[in-house]
Amino acid sequence: MPTEILMPALSPTMEEGNLAKWLKKEGDAVAPGDVIAEIETDKATMEVEAIDEGKIGRILIGEGTEGVKVNTPIALLLADGESEEDLSKAPVSAPPAAAQAPAEEPAAQKVEETPKPAAVPKAEAPALPADPDIPEGTEMVPTTVREALRDAMAEEMRRDEDVFVMGEEVAEYQGAYKVTQGLLQEFGDKRVVDTPITEHGFAGVGIGAAFAGLKPIVEFMTFNFAMQAMDQLVNSAAKTLYMAGGQMGAPIVFRGPNGAAARVAAQHSQDYAAWYGHIPGLKVVMPYTAADAKGLLKAAIRDPNPVIFLENEILYGQTFDVPQLDDFVLPIGKARIHKAGKDATIVSFGIGMTYAVKAEEELRGMGLDVEIIDLRTIRPMDLDTVIESVKKTNRLVTVEEGFPQSSVGDHIAAQVMQRAFDYLDAPVITVAGKDVPMPYAANLEKLALPSVAEVVEAVKAVTYRG
């Protein structure tokens, strides 16, 4: 039976085209790859190549015909041994859609079966374990965030040979911010690797090693420099598991200081919580205390997914109690109620917590009992804990240093509005950095960041304490 040559789709969006020219006529022999016709689309004139060997038996759509629908038979091809007589056997009358039927069938089924948007299956929220119990009598050791991070890496490197650290100045220099201090001495230069200044490159190298099953910890000297590597983080690390249908992913941690330090101006002072929080396929952790830094970094290193671990230079030197336990691991994705209260809820994370904590002290003096939630993880976000708190206090203030538009606070406010609208007694106030690049001048820098006073004012506003 003669083969139908169909009007081809020549671009992702083409539905019809003009048959501009036939380059073969009836009776001509064609081989695969021979150009047989030219088709005009709205974008270009394209050549149609023969796919099978044979002889053009009949041209069905004449030269110059406009608006020929994709998949319309345009000619009949006779195979070796077939003759003109066979042309009558061709199913010319068959609707052009016949060839497309296999594609349309499932699509049509889909129309019927696809549930309404509201019923599209939701990602199941995994049940998270609570923070581990700290047995009574456990010694609490005052530890800086810097030491806690180093201890977490060292413990995980002792535990798993596949864990290694790479980044700028992590080895011989002992870390640009001394977070990797001592690791080279204990683990050697195979597992503590100094890289050239080449963020895009070494981020990709780390991800490739993770594809192969290693568990790299990639340190960015600061996350400002990770902008160079953004494509690798988002397109390679975050999306591969999905694009591979679950076959292959990247068990990798990207960590380093994030956000404003002090007087380093616009290019070195940016908070990326909202940026990475936007990306499905990443986990994003941003701890405040040393205990959380340790427990969550250990969890991040063990996590089979890419984890963005946002630290803060100003917090590195701050001291918190860390429980002295052999293996202190905290759950990623679980907020921590830093202080319980009933009059209003402040949600913050990372260095934002420093404003929240000081504001709460002031507000306590004014007779307000404020609850503070430390989000700890930006993605997946523990909105349940936030919503439960809002149901109790009916008032919400979010605090972060990042830019205000599309901030983490904006997302929380929208979710609380959708899920707990009836519980709100005041509009949510989002305290964030100002909508300006970070200035260098000391006074302007101070103004560009949130302040304790702003947080206090916000809580007074949502509790109507003018």
Binding site: L6, P8, L10, S11, P12, P32, G33, V35, T41, K43, M46, E47, V48, E49, I51, V70, N71, Q100, P102, A103, P106, K110, E113, T114, V120, P121, K122, K190, T195, P196, T198, H200, G201, F202, A203, G204, V205, I207, G208, A209, A212, L214, D231, Q232, N235, S236, T240, L241, M243, A244, G245, G246, Q247, M248, G249, G281, K283, P304, N305, P380
Partner: protein, 358 residues
């Protein structure tokens, strides 16, 4: 000995006649490597190369056809014309070696032995595809076959492939990472960041630059200040050679050399495969940036499959009928893959939310 060596050392002109490419420069202490002579294939090697290249050719023709029918959506970059590169390189690999490439990836997948059904079903976005229909033409992976994708951002696979090599060295095995990219990607900054680290750390990675002469629609001479891509590693002391990428025997010989180079701990090496793509950059490319004569000349004078076919016939290692039968077998495999890819259902809607995190 020294005198003898001088006597037998080939003059530049005879070196040229021996190999199609210049030996690599030794500037800046980069080790000198010469393009090896095409390997003399045995009968079974020729037959197997013929079969493997033909499978890719027919598969891609069918993919083009299914695209035309609207069964494959989005972007679809065909490999027709470049078949000798992946088939020859694959002949040089052993179990455990890894392969990674960009988005013109169907040929690489078939060469690593991935199932044509699974590849075609991914092209049609069906559940039986390698990525359950969630990756498409540009994104497929196979742990089993050590194929690491399938990457859509030009050049991004180069650091990733370098990372695979880092993992090999870390584990102390002798596997080699074969990292493919095109002449277009060769102008991306991350490629040179990777070259630097690979050479600094002596990583076992073969950078295979598939120079098909056009980065989408921009010819090499219009996009590249240095059009000899085998020299692109000189600043990093990475040797490179130019290889006739239309001759599967030349590719195999260069592949053997490069893979041995890496396995013996000498670090990375660059192979510039001089090849040609017959089709447009993607399905919607009318390819107006080159003449029909240029394409026709390549097809008629340098086609990788026709070269093997001619040798098989000349040496009487196969008859026309044998090759026709081979062609029929290949067509059947491809037809079966196409049937499967059309009959297989789309992914279940529940797949929307799976495989985002483990």
């Amino acid at each position: 000995m020294a005198t003898a060596a001088r006597k037998t050392a080939p003059k530049p002109s005879s070196a040229k006649s021996r190999s199609p490419a210049k030996p690599s420069s030794t500037a800046g202490g980069t080790p000198a490597v010469r393009t090896p002579k095409p390997e003399e294939f045995k009968q079974e090697q020729e037959l197997s190369a013929y079969r493997d290249m033909l499978l890719i050719r027919r598969f891609e023709e069918k993919a083009g056809q299914l695209y035309g029918m609207g069964l494959i959506g989005g972007f679809c970059h065909l490999y027709i014309g470049q078949e000798a590169v992946v088939v020859g390189m694959q002949m040089a690999l052993k179990e455990g070696d890894q392969v990674i490439t960009g988005y013109r990836d169907h040929g690489h997948m078939l060469a690593t032995g991935m199932d044509p059904r699974g590849v075609m079903a991914e092209l049609t976005g069906r559940r039986g595809g390698y990525s359950k229909g969630k990756g498409g033409s540009m994104h497929m992976f196979s742990k089993e076959k050590n194929f690491y994708g399938g990457h859509g951002i030009v050049g991004a696979q180069v650091p990733l492939g370098t990372g695979l090599a880092l993992a090999n060295r870390y584990r102390g095995n002798d596997s080699v990472s074969l990292t493919y990219f095109g002449d277009g990607a060769a102008n991306q900054g991350q490629v040179y960041e990777s070259f630097n680290m690979a050479s600094l750390w002596k990583l076992p990675v073969v950078y295979v630059i598939e120079n098909n002469r056009y980065a989408m629609g921009t010819s090499v001479s219009r996009s590249s200040a240095e059009t000899d891509f085998s020299h692109r590693g000189l600043s990093f002391k990475i040797p490179g050679i130019q290889v006739d990428g239309m001759d599967v025997r030349a590719v195999k010989a260069a592949g053997d050399l490069a893979v041995d180079w890496c396995r013996s701990g000498k670090g990375p090496i660059i192979l510039e495969m001089q090849t040609y793509r017959y089709r447009g950059h993607s399905m919607s490319d009318p390819a107006k940036y080159r003449s029909k004569d240029e394409v026709q000349k390549m097809r008629s004078e340098h086609d990788p499959i026709e070269q093997v076919k001619k040798r098989l016939l000349d040496k009487k290692w196969a008859s026309e009928d044998d090759l026709k039968a081979e062609d029929k077998r290949v067509r059947e495999i491809v037809a079966d893959a196409a049937d499967f890819a059309q009959a297989d259902p789309e992914p279940d809607v529940s797949e929307l939310y799976t495989d985002i995190l483990l």
